[in-house]
Amino acid sequence: MSITMPTRRQLLSMIGHAAGTTAMYQAMTSMGFAATSDYSGPIELAGSQGGTKVLILGAGLAGLTAAYELRKAGYDVKVLEYQNRGGGRSWTISGGDSFTELGGHDVDCTFEKGYLNPGPWRLPIHHYAVFDYCRKFNVPLQPFIMKNNKAYLHNSQAYGGKPQRIGDVETDIRGYTSELLAKSVQQGALDEQVSAEDQEKLLEGLKGWGVLDKNYRYVTSEAVGEHRGWDVLPGGGLMPKAEPSTPLDFGPLLNSGLWEQLYVFNEYVHAPAMFEPVGGMGRIGDAFTEQTRDLIRFNARVSKIEQNEGQVTVHYEDREGGGEVMQETADYCICTIPLSILAQLEIDVSDEMKRAIASVPYASAFKVALEFKRRFWEQDEWIVGGISYTDLPIKQIAYPSYDLFEDGPGVVQAAYDTYPTKNYTYTWNTLTPQERIEAALEFGSRIHPQYREEFISGTSCAWHRIPWTLGCYGQWTEELREEHYETLCEFDGRIALAGEHCSHIPAWQEGAILSGLDVIRRLDARVNA
């Protein structure tokens, strides 16, 4: 059989024709996001013999990776951080936490158990650097259930608004596409592409893959029951005879929009098995902070970054000491301040670098978590972990992968979206914390009617209301990267930038760590040149 693999451009064009530009855009971003980490084990630096001083701005994962490794290699390191905590967006909100967001509203969390990871919340296995540091810093990890065939796909305009199980939709799509492909082969439509011998193998493969009957049709049968599930499950003794479930009709299924919702599971970054730290993603940020705490000055608001041929001088306000302006000098500065903020600061760099800093918009994103009196999604619907997807503005409901089958209250991530071309996430950012909870309850109750009855409390994060990021992450486009990315990552005199925005894995912790490692590798080479 000779099938030529399509080029990336051809593939995008095919997707564009088949599913419209929205799907094409999603495919493009997912290709960009799916870049594999090239982490090749612990970094080895020549080190500093002369006490070279490095000032790091920002105690997120990029900054603290650099701080940890540079200190180990003998550098004199200091970190300035705006917040009173380290870890940056590697962050978990749990019961007892509270903060004031831009606009003046307080966000509280009163969860008895369970938490919200406002930023990163799941680790793909190819993010090798994250796992290596988790191992090194003893951060315990557990499986994260990304795909659960019992979770739902939901389109408010399809099936009378009734959600469908992921496994049903996927098995049916596979069945019908197999049936159609088999028909095409039998009708000679693929004679030019597939030899007669290969056609037989293809038909045989499709029969098993799609669970087709002897006439290559996808219809209910015992075999379909064994793949798709049962209306009456096989039982014991004299219990009723098993009855296989019945596939959804092809036309309505094709028009339901649910197939598109399945694409997310095909992405490399979402491939099983995925993992998460026990106790929340913030455990990673906490671990980095513990390793470097003595190097960090918290509550420091940077206002100006100067450099000359000999040194870098950073001006900052002590947010606790009545806004007193302080200075810190160093031989080099690694600046991980988000570009949304850095673009507003006075900084001595080239015009080209200034343009690069000002060019990257910050993506909108938000999450809402709700605490319920009982884990009704498990107890009533047998959804144990995983994620349901919907066309409603909440976009998805993620069920916890921890404390499974326990009695008592549980927390779901009840709303999350970040697609930069979609408008819902902007609207969520306009709502007050209380309004976000009410909206998440209203939309979610259309999928889980138990919501209102079981609700206890909620919390949220609207990233454009977070004072220390002004948005969620660097929203690159191919054009912007072409024009500005290299400039942004190169040293400008004694200053170099790092962070997820200086990586090809934006928004992921792996991108931040790799960026931090790459910048210190280059710094170390300069110092030892």
């Binding site: 600061l345 408008n423 009410e438």
Partner: protein, 164 residues
């Protein structure tokens, strides 16, 4: 036409930058109603039943996932700009700031705000792919005639189309 508008934009932009510099050196202040969260909440509770409040929240979302479906400047402001520039248009301040739209001298030029909306500016995302010409015009006009702003040279959908 496009060149003329671009030139005009550049001049107005330069003028507004100069105005900004002046304003900054002179420490300009704008008088605005105070932003009082508690009062806002009390007012909402007084005027609206819980059902009305919920309806207002749900209705703030567009009916299409890929583009804004609101048509009035006010509704568009409340479902997008307000996230950062806040209900009173005064922006906000953290590690960095969201600039106030209230009394912002850059709004002197109608072409400035349209260009910012179409292409993004500093960390601000672009809205040109989610709002059509009429929507960009409406929301620009809303901002330029509220929050203490009172500019009479309205943006038209044609202006937006020229700048795309």
């Amino acid at each position: 036409m496009k060149t003329a508008i671009a030139a005009c934009f550049a001049m107005a932009f330069a003028a507004s930058l100069a105005a900004q510099d002046l304003a900054e050196t002179e420490g300009y202040e704008v008088e605005l109603p105070s932003q009082d969260v508690a009062t806002d909440k009390a007012r909402l509770l007084e005027e609206n039943s819980p059902e009305d409040s919920l309806r207002e929240i749900i209705d703030r979302f567009s009916t299409h996932p890929d583009r804004f479906t609101q048509t009035s400047g006010e509704a568009l402001y409340k479902t997008s700009c307000m996230g950062c520039h806040m209900p009173d248009g005064r922006g906000a301040e953290g590690a960095g700031h969201y600039p106030p739209l209230a009394g912002n001298p850059k709004l002197v030029s109608k072409y400035f705000i349209v260009t910012v909306l179409l292409t993004g500016y500093h960390g601000m995302p672009r809205f040109g792919d989610q709002m059509d010409d009429a929507q960009i015009a409406e929301v620009s006009n809303y901002v330029r005639t509220h929050f203490g702003n009172d500019y009479s040279d309205a943006v038209t959908a044609e202006d937006v189309s020229e700048l795309r």
